[in-house]
């Protein structure tokens, strides 16, 4: 009788542990981490303990305010290596917008990358994303997305000479 109970206990333990292991394997194949560090970061995201490196985020913000957009993006990408923080992704998108904005033309490649980043930010945020930053003129991800989308579209308005009077947001 005791033997049967022990056998059942081993069966349950084995089934539970291997089911957890199988779930982890499926998760690894679904997320395709490229290194052990990405595995660790991904696991933090999965269990909800992931946090952006605040020091790097602030350093990036300082660079952004000095119009050093590429350096700012590098720092933000390091701060949010899992690309899982909507606010950081919003700022990355904003840096693409500001760098790609031109009085005569918009850099299509940068705007497209900005669009990808803002879409990520929107997807990551459960509620409509709003960033309270007095240095920005667009505070919501929806505004930024619309602006980036407008920049990637081609129409007759592009040849309007008054276009040069527009201001960067």
């Amino acid at each position: 009788m005791a033997n049967s109970v022990q056998q059942r206990f081993i069966q349950i333990i084995g089934l539970a542990l291997s089911a957890i292991y199988a779930t982890a394997i499926i998760w690894i194949y679904a997320t395709e981490p490229r290194s052990f560090r990405e595995v660790a970061t991904g696991a933090q995201v999965a269990v909800g303990t992931y946090q952006v490196d605040q020091e790097k985020f602030n350093a990036a913000l300082t660079l952004f305010r000095r119009d050093q957009f590429r350096a700012a993006r590098d720092e933000w990408q390091r701060a949010d290596s899992a690309q899982s923080d909507p606010k950081t992704q919003f700022y990355i998108a904003y840096s693409f917008y500001r760098e790609g904005w031109g009085r005569v033309y918009y850099d299509q490649d940068l705007f497209k990358q900005g669009l990808d980043a803002v879409n990520r930010a929107i997807a990551l945020s459960a509620t409509p994303l709003t960033v309270d930053d007095e240095n920005l003129q667009m505070h919501t991800a929806a505004e930024l997305k619309a602006e980036l989308e407008q920049g990637t579209e081609r129409n007759w308005g592009d040849v309007n000479p008054l276009k040069v009077l527009r201001t960067r947001k």
Binding site: N3, I10, Q11, G14, L15, S18, Y21, A22, I25, R34
Partner: protein
């Protein structure tokens, strides 16, 4: 009394191997079988099993049943407690994915070589379906099958297409690739990929050997070294 104790211990150990160790071994094989390491960035690449590896895995499972390495009638039966049946089905499921990923580990990733290797496996497994097999012969046959594929992929082909190989190697690789218009091109991976594959296949075979030892019906008869088995 000591006989009872030995019997109890045997039963416990058998349960531990069947319900804990074997699923873990097979799941580890399923994890590592699709793992490659990029030769340039040394980044991990996880390749899920392709459709052909799933077909090969099914053929191999049928072969396991025919070779009596797996006794499906005793593993899944109406007389077993439901939990036992569930755990046995789970173990078979992990074995299935381990088989698929073991094939994935030794199959070239793309091109004509992928299909040549797949055809070689398919032909061998299909032929084996009509041969008389026992567990011992089957295990030997699998060691040879996977060993050959491992040597061909991770040693011969990897060496032929290696970027840091000698001039003659690179010339041969370029010639083979050029003559076949790129059809025999092979993807390059870091040397770590070969070591991972070696460990994966080793673990897979250990799992299969453990299966043969945990099922008394096969261990007592089929695994015994007898003249009839040896011939």
């Amino acid at each position: 009394m000591s006989g009872d104790l030995a019997s109890t211990n045997r039963s416990k150990n058998q349960a531990l191997v069947t319900y804990v160790v074997l699923p873990f071994i097979f799941l580890t094989v399923a994890l590592l079988g699709g793992l490659r390491v990029s030769s340039e960035s040394h980044a991990f690449m996880f390749l899920p099993p392709s459709l052909i590896t799933l077909v090969l895995a099914i053929l191999l499972l049928i072969l396991f049943v025919r070779g009596r390495l797996i006794e499906t009638r005793s593993l899944i039966a109406g007389t077993n407690p439901p939990l036992t049946n569930v755990t046995h089905i789970w173990m078979l499921l992990t074995l299935f994915f381990a088989c698929a990923q073991a094939f994935n580990s030794v199959l070239p990733e793309r091109g004509l070589l992928h299909w040549l290797f797949s055809f070689f496996f398919l032909w061998t497994l299909w032929n084996n379906q009509f041969s008389s097999f026992d567990a011992r012969r089957l295990l030997r046959s699998l060691v040879v099958l996977f060993g050959t594929a491992f040597v061909l992929k991770h040693m011969l082909l990897a060496s032929l297409y290696s970027a840091d190989g000698g001039l003659l190697k690179r010339l041969t690789g370029a010639l083979v690739s050029g003559v076949t218009l790129g059809a025999l091109d092979a993807e390059q991976f870091a040397p770590a990929t070969g070591y991972i594959s070696f460990f994966t296949l080793g673990l897979y075979l250990v799992g299969l050997i453990l299966i043969s030892f945990t099922h008394p019906q096969t261990t007592s008869t089929d695994l015994a070294v007898t003249p009839s088995n040896e011939s």
